[in-house]
Subunit: 289 residues, 2 copies
């Protein structure tokens, strides 16, 4: 694995890979790598012959400077994980290399109120801008984003479609613990009891899947069944249960085409999110979570 | 010259040119070609081996739907001019091919009030968005923009710099009639008398150049001398005389680094614009107009 800090060096290395006829895969990250990231690298490796990972904590997408300054870092560990995971080129730019000037922004006017957007003003604009920059720097053939952050994945697909970026986006299924809990750095804040209760999130998707399989298409009825299952896990509160169209994240009244079921709930002060994609397959629907 | 309407065909043709080791040059236009456009093609041809021109009247950059609908068109003539001018690939997309969805926008937060921006809300956002799309579709090595529309040229340079587009921008000097009048489709609205009077615009730059050569650096004094020369041409009004920093179009108090002198004035109802770039060269400055 090669490690570079400069944009010019990324272009040189990727240019060489392309000249050798290799497809280039890309996994952008903010570091502090966990198995979720490695699953993205694995999928990038299955779909390309030269995998680039970037680690860059993007100031532009933080609303709170304290959050930015407090963002966890462990570069030495990250480098080892990336190398073992199969990364060919690791791009570690600093702030100065990425933001020589900062007047241009990219925005996607998706309905963001239905999921996490309302809580994070400006966040997504910062994401779109840095991802546009990274796409132009790395010029990958494919890029992999996690389903866990579904709003980010859908918006970036939309951005790529609208601006005609020559990049194929792959949305990688959420990595889960063996019992079904979506992996998250927040899980460590849960007590043993809360940890078990929080399994109600993924269980609610299993219940939802059965409903869909049985032919139910009404979003409100599906939402009610999800709520009932999550409540079995005694959360301190349910933040939202949203059933939205994949295409633009607008509310869906019925399951009709690609759809997202997204949930957020609190156990104590720990806010957990999870989601399921309902996609057309053959005559019916397939649930991915 | 090949003519294509589909994005996929542009990528195929440009891909073939790149595989053959050719540098790709790009001239985006809205059609109704004139000698100014052909000078851009010529410069693209001098700096690349495969010249792509696009003709697309971009709805997004019109504030007024009447202006959009009334935008002059003469496709048959344009095709002949492009072919004679040395274009290798002409891209003629329709609205549906370019805007399948229209939720993503690119914006550059340059100070636009100092020149024409204040008069055209939303205009530049539409330009940045379509140029980003065209860059991603054509993936040129170089792209040529005219100095005549200096605000557009400077903003696109900033956009390319900020978003790391792998494209070199060339700003091509304004094409002038033999007597110095900047070419413009508006010139035909001038009476013979007005036509002569309007030469005071380019004459004001010659006077400015002399002042600069003599060591004058004070923007207000330079501005006064320009005003005096333009007034000799009896314009009905002077819209603005702006001396701004090239980098961000903010007002310059002194000539100190790359600078733009931009003027706009009316003869009758005809508004003419012109500009000069003052750039550092060796120990002094060079004026480009």
């Amino acid at each position: 694995m090669k490690i570079v800090n400069k944009i010019a060096d990324v272009r040189l290395e990727v240019g060489n890979a392309k000249k050798a006829g290799k497809l280039v895969g890309f996994v952008p990250t903010m570091g502090f790598l966990h198995p979720g990231h490695i699953s993205l690298v694995k999928i990038a490796g299955e779909n390309s012959e030269f995998v680039v990972m970037s680690i860059f904590v993007n100031k532009l997408q933080f609303n709170d400077l304290n959050d930015f300054n407090g963002y966890p870092k462990d570069l030495e560990r990250d480098i080892a994980i990336a190398e073992n995971g199969g990364v060919d080129l690791l791009f570690l730019p600093d702030d100065k290399e990425m933001y020589r000037s900062n007047l241009t922004t990219v925005d996607v006017d998706l309905i963001t109120e239905n999921l996490c957007g309302a809580h994070r003003p400006g966040h997504f604009k910062g994401v779109f801008t840095v991802v546009s920059k990274l796409f132009n720097i790395v010029q990958p053939d494919i890029a992999v984003f996690g389903q866990k952050d579904i709003q980010q994945a859908v918006s970036i697909e939309k951005m790529v479609y609208d601006l005609n970026f020559p990049v194929k986006i792959i949305v990688a299924p959420t990595v889960r613990e063996s019992d079904g809990l979506a992996m998250s750095s927040r899980n460590k804040h849960l007590s043993e009891k809360q940890r078990k209760e929080a399994l109600s999130l993924s269980r609610s998707f299993a219940a939802c899947e059965k409903l869909i399989d049985s032919g139910e298409r009404d979003a409100e009825k599906i939402s009610e069944s999800i709520r009932a299952v999550i409540l079995e896990g005694s959360p301190d509160s349910i933040d939202y249960i949203s059933i939205v169209k994949y295409e633009d994240l607008s509310y869906a009244e019925k399951i009709d085409g690609k759809t997202v079921v997204a949930v957020a709930a609190f156990w104590g002060t720990t806010r957990l999110i999870d989601n399921m994609i309902i996609d057309k397959k053959d005559d019916g629907y397939i649930c991915i979570y």
